[in-house]
């Protein structure tokens, strides 16, 4: 329905319909009240006319006590166009007289004093009956008993009806004019009232990937009804902008990180082709190119792993998971990192205390531990010890702590270590062969399981990474 799709149309319809109802009610009440008033006035007039008629009844001069009606003094009708009707009854001899225009066949029975409506021959009348009216024509010393009269007086209702109709037409016309004025006023008021909404829409249309700011005029911003909408729009835009910037940074970083190994590989091959070489030189060159390619391949693998971890973290994948022992995954990770640790002359000390069961894919957890261990081993001094501790408090999360005794992380780098491609000091990671992705992958995976990961400098020396996994969620 068209109406239901426009706020403006709906508001105007509401205003107009309520105004129309009001006008109809007013019309009804006005007509009803006018009618009542006019009829009451008419009744009073009829009664006084009846009394006038009574005044025209006289005794005959013969002292018999008989009555006659002196119609020479009869006053004019209330409405000359529609003459009144009347009849006079006496106690003793019944009907004394009737007006000349009394309709043939109309008989009104005796009864109490009363006003009522009567339709005769399709003409509506208002009728009044007055009884026990004494004959006014009375002289001193009369011997006969005085008589009482009953007078019926009726007037056609046509004039009253006309007046009521005129009042009705007047009220209806006035209502129509007011209704029209209300409609125009409502149209203007609602259009003005909805302007802030329109401005909001215009400004919202200006928001783009280049301009994330929602700039609103003060009156729009201060509109009470729009405030929750504007607030949620601003929050949503901020979230979108953050994820857009992150995405763009990731693309930029990824492109940048890929360019260097590609440049190395390309330069290796080009310098090989620069001039004729011996087959030994070619062999060595191809070997070098292969090594460059392997590095590139490793970087791609890491990037894919990160993409997969983040996708999993965003809930794009759902898997059926078994309860596994966190300690076992730590042992497996220590086993996998063994060679690297040995080449760094670093020992790994794993402290566990009873099974800690958690619902997860063991591969995911091992990858997290492996990345954290690699990091710890790389930054450990020669002959150093990396300490891993798995603890759980009753009702609390499982806590897995990795501590090395290396140089630690500069405080200004601490908030960034889990960012993709972040390398506080490029020389260290370049030398240690990292891509700046291991910790980002660990964070994505830990968060996928509803956990948290933090980095801090260890109390004495080195770095401490703490992973907390919520046990109640998975058990």
């Amino acid at each position: 329905m068209l109406l239901s799709k426009s706020i403006k149309a709906r508001l105007i319809a509401t205003v107009v319909i309520s105004q129309a109802l009001l006008a109809a009610g007013l019309l009804f009440a006005g007509v009803f009240y006018t009618h009542r008033r006019l009829v009451a006035t008419l009744d009073a007039a009829l009664q006084s006319r009846a009394m006038s008629v009574a005044a025209l009844v006289r005794y005959t001069e013969d002292a018999s006590g008989n009555l006659y009606f002196d119609d020479s003094l009869m006053p004019r009708s209330l409405d000359p166009a529609h003459p009144d009707l009347f009849e006079v009854w006496t106690e003793r001899s019944g009907l004394l007289t009737r007006s000349s225009n009394w309709p043939a066949g109309l008989e009104i029975s005796a009864g109490p004093d009363h006003h009522w409506n009567l339709t005769w021959d399709r003409v509506p009348y208002r009728v009044t009956r007055v009884s026990h009216v004494p004959v006014l024509d009375r002289e001193e010393g009369q011997s006969f008993r005085p008589q009482a009269l009953t007078i019926v007086y009726a007037a056609p209702l046509i004039r009253v009806q006309e007046q009521v109709r005129a009042a009705g037409v007047f009220i209806a016309l006035a209502s129509l004019i007011l209704l029209g004025a209300t409609f125009l006023l409502a149209l203007y008021g609602i259009r003005q009232g909805l302007l802030p909404l329109q401005r909001l829409a215009e400004q919202a249309a200006l928001v783009s990937a280049r301009n994330w700011e929602l700039r609103l005029p003060a009156d729009t911003e201060e509109t009470a009804e729009l405030r929750p909408l504007i607030q949620s729009m601003i929050t949503m835009l901020a979230r979108l902008e953050r994820s857009y910037v992150q995405q763009r940074e990731f693309m930029g970083n990824a492109a940048h990180e890929l360019k260097t190994p590609v440049a190395v590989l390309k330069s290796t091959l080009q310098s090989l082709l620069h001039r004729p070489r011996s087959s030994e030189e070619y062999r060595a060159g191809v070997q070098e190119a292969l090594e460059d390619l392997e590095r590139l391949e490793r970087l791609l693998q890491w990037m894919l792993r990160l993409a997969r971890a983040e996708q999993w973290a965003h809930g794009a994948l759902r898997r059926d998971l078994d309860l596994i022992d966190i300690n076992a995954t730590c042992e497996e990770a220590v086993e996998r990192i063994h060679n690297l640790a040995q080449s760094h002359h670093t020992r790994i000390h794993l402290a566990t205390n009873g099974k800690v069961l958690f619902r997860a894919d063991p591969e995911d957890l091992q990858l997290v531990w492996q990345n954290l261990l690699e990091n710890a081993v790389r930054y450990s001094p020669e002959g150093g010890v990396v300490e891993v501790a798995v603890t759980r408090k009753d009702g609390g999360p499982a806590r897995i702590m990795f501590e090395d005794h290396g140089v630690g992380i500069p405080p200004e780098d601490l908030p960034h270590v889990f960012e993709r491609f972040y390398r506080g000091d490029p020389s260290r990671t370049r030398a240690t062969g990292g891509f700046g992705l291991g910790l980002a992958i660990a964070k994505a995976l830990v968060e996928a399981y509803g956990g948290t990961i933090t980095a801090e400098n260890a109390p004495r020396q080195g770095t401490r990474m703490t992973v907390e996994l919520p046990l109640n969620r998975s058990n």
């Binding site: 940048h256 190395v264 330069s267 290796t268 080009q270 001039r275």
Partner: protein
């Protein structure tokens, strides 16, 4: 000519250095981080610097600003993985003379390096002419009056350096500075050997001497 490469990716630095040595006969020093790069740039005189931007210790932009503030006029070719307009503009405004985005072509790198060296010495043409002597820096050939002269690699390097600065007195120290990289022991009498070899090959069959000795100061190449 002597080139400084500041690049933290050792394989890339090595490939560039090898290419410059093999196909241009330049002396090449390599610095693996910004600090070392700054130290080398300040303690030696280079004919061109190839500078990576993402460097440990001190990034390329800082290094560039530092050497320009110190008044060095050595041409700088920046190697960058970022090719956004903003960063290119910032680079050129910071005093870079040219830039190449990674991954680049070694041939292009070589050509741009040579062009920067020429322009740095006020020689726009790749073929240097002093009187009837012609030195082609692209394919490294020397001719005098249509006679092709065959030179050893070191003789060519000495002549190329002198030919880039015709009419100027070039000291033995300057020649040593620009012809040998950091790792070589420098003996000034080696220069005398090359100069006498060059004189013999260039002036053979000609009545006009091109290389002149200024006693106690050095050598001039002029007609």
């Amino acid at each position: 000519m002597r080139v400084l490469i500041v690049e933290d990716e050792p394989r890339l630095a090595e490939n560039i250095a090898r290419s410059l040595r093999e196909s241009a006969g330049y002396a090449v020093d390599v610095a693996a981080d910004g600090q070392e790069g700054l130290f080398l740039a300040e303690s030696n005189t280079y004919d061109v610097v190839l500078l990576d931007l993402m460097l440990p210790q001190m990034d390329g932009m800082q290094l560039l600003t530092r050497i320009r503030q110190a008044g060095q006029v050595t041409p700088v070719l920046v190697l960058t993985a970022r090719d956004e307009k903003e960063s290119v503009v910032a680079l050129l405004n910071a005093g870079a003379d040219d830039y190449l985005t990674k991954p680049f072509d070694l041939g292009e790198l070589l050509a741009r390096t040579k062009a920067l060296i020429r322009r740095g010495k006020g020689q726009p043409s790749p073929v240097l002419t002093i009187g009837d002597l012609q030195l082609n820096t692209v394919n490294r050939t020397v001719q005098r009056s249509d006679r092709t002269i065959l030179l050893t690699a070191m003789e060519y390097r000495v002549l190329e350096y002198l030919a880039h600065r015709p009419g100027a007195v070039v000291s033995k120290t300057e020649l040593l500075e620009h012809l040998y990289d950091y790792n070589w022991e420098k003996f000034s009498n080696v220069i005398e050997v090359y100069i006498s070899g060059l004189r013999r090959k260039l002036d053979d069959g000609s009545d006009r001497q091109l290389i002149h000795t200024v006693r106690g100061q050095g050598y001039i190449l002029q007609d």
